[in-house]
């Protein structure tokens, strides 16, 4: 060995490479799962959606969507439900997260359990629970009539109202968690500083607190909105056939007509719409900040 040669250079590099590979190997199981249950079926879905009746390539399935007005209505309903649910979640979740963020961490944890508890119960159970609560002879109606809030039982379920109530309840934790997280990160001194500089509590909130909590709110709202776009169970149960969202229609097509092509095409359109929503969000807000709470 020459005296001037760097010591152990090759061995050290080998060690470095080995370490990198061992870290990389950790993601292999997840990668296999993703490829098997997401990428392959998704490709299959795309493939099916471009198949015509004769088995050749065709845009027929997509063409159908522009022909029937029912498809248009379904997309409008889907976005309507998603937007309204998101707004309801913000209206309910922002004050809740704000309240939690003001509590000492120990108490916040206990109250957070109340938010998360329904989150851990079966989706189906929660949805049917709402059905029981909201139906015409349900607890809510009986109670309201008894105390004279309204005279005859009103229709709270098997319509848009019921769907929104159920979905807002189910989606609430998805908004509260990232929002609470963002709020916890706001330095308490900032509100003190704002007050110190002459801002009333209302002013300090809108000028300082709200803008700083916005990334958390957008992150939560995005998650809620995207989950709503593809939601199935709650509109199916609480909508009573009157609130037909894209996923409900996909099921209907498969059950009634067994038309895989049309169902796949609808799925593809939903996927594209979702991706487009995320893309728009990424353009208006810094995406990494929104999703990972970085600032």
């Amino acid at each position: 060995m020459a005296g001037a040669a760097p010591l152990h250079e090759a061995a050290l590099q080998r060690q470095h490479r080995r370490e990198q590979w061992s870290i990389l190997s950790l993601v292999v199981p997840a990668m296999i799962v993703i490829i098997l249950i997401i990428l392959i079926p998704l490709s299959w879905l795309f493939y099916l959606s471009f198949l015509g009746d004769d088995g050749g390539f065709s845009l027929e399935n997509y063409h159908k969507m522009t022909q029937y007005k029912s498809y248009y209505r379904i997309f409008v309903t889907t976005f309507q439900v998603s937007i309204l649910t998101t707004l309801a979640c913000i209206a309910l979740g922002y004050p809740l997260a704000f309240f939690l963020a003001q509590l000492p961490p120990k108490w916040a944890g206990i109250f957070m359990l109340a938010v998360l508890l329904p989150f851990w119960t079966s989706l189906l159970v929660r949805t049917y629970a709402w059905l029981v609560l909201l139906q015409k002879r349900g607890i809510l109606n009986e109670f309201a009539v008894q105390i004279g809030l309204w005279e005859t039982p009103i229709k709270l379920v098997h319509n848009m109202t019921g769907t929104l109530i159920g979905m807002a309840h189910i989606m609430l934790p998805f908004l509260v968690l990232p929002l609470y997280n963002a709020m916890r990160k706001i330095d308490g001194d900032l509100m003190h500083a704002a007050a110190n500089l002459g801002a009333s509590p209302v002013h300090a909130f809108w000028r300082v607190y709200f803008p700083l909590s916005l990334p958390g709110m957008v992150a939560g709202a995005l998650i809620v909105f995207v989950l709503c776009l593809g939601f199935y169970v709650t509109p199916a149960v609480l909508g009573g056939g009157r609130v037909i969202m894209v996923s409900n229609h996909i099921t209907a097509i498969l059950e009634n007509q067994f038309d895989w092509g049309a169902a796949s095409a609808l799925g593809v359109v939903l996927l594209v719409a979702t991706t487009f929503t995320l893309y728009l969000a990424a353009r208006f807000f810094r995406f990494d900040a929104v999703l990972f709470g970085r600032d």
Partner: protein, 376 residues
């Protein structure tokens, strides 16, 4: 007989009176957290235009006091007045107090100029006047041209200056600072201390500064209020706090010191090892406080006389610390004296003579006698 000349009280010049330098009067301010008194009936007068430091260990109540002045916590009882106006019930946003926070608390979603302009905007100052006042404030803190920067583009020292500019730009009645330099490295901190003092002189605004760093307090303050266990222990100029500590806590907390118990001789005078140290009132124990830098190594011929006291001991250790050398001298078994001597020339005659006999001298004017037993 007072061995020390009376210190010159911080003189408020006429030019400073022109600015809104209001005195702060605090009376019987009490704040309890459960059984613990964070503030125990504190009385404090901050003079118009002075730089007063609240100095104390963590948990002493100094921050609680500052927060009470700013209006961020609600005391149980007491009075706080700005120039005769009671503010104890006023919410923080109506107190017209400028504050520099330990974390700076700059708004991360606003530019430097927007941060500084924030209090101006709230006061309806707009347009060119706001711009010129922001510019002026930036100039004062030597950050001209930084207005458009984002907060995360600034260094720690620059953030510090922006926080400062934001705190005084709207002409507050009082300026409060909560350990504003603690996040800076030593060199920058020392430079900012001088700059803050300079700025204070320029603005002339009554300033209350909180720190646990005794050196910082000595460097910057017109007067220091030493606080411990929710009580005001001593309120004096830095020199007097250092040279005439009120009790063992102050002597121990500010500067280095060795405390030696004194005994009374037959005539009632206080002595240490049969050496007459001074006179004192009746009763109680008395303690001799010696500062390491006030001691010196004397030669063997030196003797106690009217000017100096000389003690004999054995050199235990000599530690070189750069600008000075710390010499530990054992007087006997468990009494050890720290002596700080210069490192220039032949400053240390005892040099390598560890285990050898040495003589320590102290000028009688440097003798500090405090009431109470030994602190340790």
């Amino acid at each position: 007989m007072d061995r020390f000349p009376p210190e010159l009280d911080f003189a408020v010049t006429d030019s400073q009176k022109e600015t809104s330098a209001l005195p702060i009067t605090i009376r019987n301010l009490t704040k309890r957290y459960g059984p613990v008194f964070a503030l125990n009936s504190v009385d404090l007068d901050v003079r118009s235009g002075e730089f007063l430091t609240l100095l104390g260990p963590s948990g002493s109540g100094k921050t609680t006091l500052l927060m009470a002045i700013a209006g961020f916590n609600r005391p149980d009882s007491g009075s706080i007045q700005f120039g005769g106006e009671e503010v104890i019930l006023a919410p923080p946003h109506k107190r017209e107090v400028g504050m520099v926070f330990q974390s700076y608390a700059l708004f991360p979603h606003m530019s430097v100029a927007d941060n500084i302009g924030f209090p101006l905007k709230l006061r309806g100052i707009g347009g060119t006047e706001r711009i010129s006042r922001i510019e002026e404030a930036l100039e004062t803190v030597q950050l001209s041209g930084f207005g458009e920067r984002n907060i995360d583009q600034l260094s720690g020292g620059q953030r510090q200056r922006v926080a400062l500019a934001r705190a005084f730009v709207f002409g507050p009645r009082v300026l409060l600072m909560d350990e504003p330099l603690s996040a800076l490295d030593k060199k920058l901190r020392e430079r900012m201390q001088i700059e803050l003092k300079h700025l204070h002189r320029k603005l002339g605004v009554t300033t209350v500064y909180v720190t646990h760093d005794q050196r910082e307090a000595l460097t910057m303050s017109d007067r220091i209020a030493v606080i411990n266990d929710g009580e005001l222990v001593q309120l004096d100029t830095p020199k007097r706090v250092y040279n005439r500590p009120a009790n063992a806590f102050v002597a121990d907390f500010i500067g280095e010191s060795t405390m030696l118990p004194l005994t009374r001789n037959a005539t009632g005078a206080l002595t240490f090892r049969d050496q007459l140290v001074g006179e004192a009132g009746e009763g109680r124990d008395w303690t001799l406080v010696v500062r390491p830098e006030r001691l010196f190594l004397a030669d063997a011929a030196a003797e106690t006389d009217e000017r100096t006291i000389v003690l004999k001991g054995v050199l235990r250790e000599a530690v070189f610390q750069g600008e000075s050398e710390m010499v530990l001298v054992a007087l006997d078994g468990d009494t050890e004296l720290a002596v700080r001597i210069g490192t220039g020339g032949t400053a240390n005659p005892a040099g390598g003579n560890i285990g050898g006999e040495v003589y320590i001298g102290i000028d009688r004017s440097d003798v500090i006698i405090i009431p109470g037993g030994r602190a340790q």
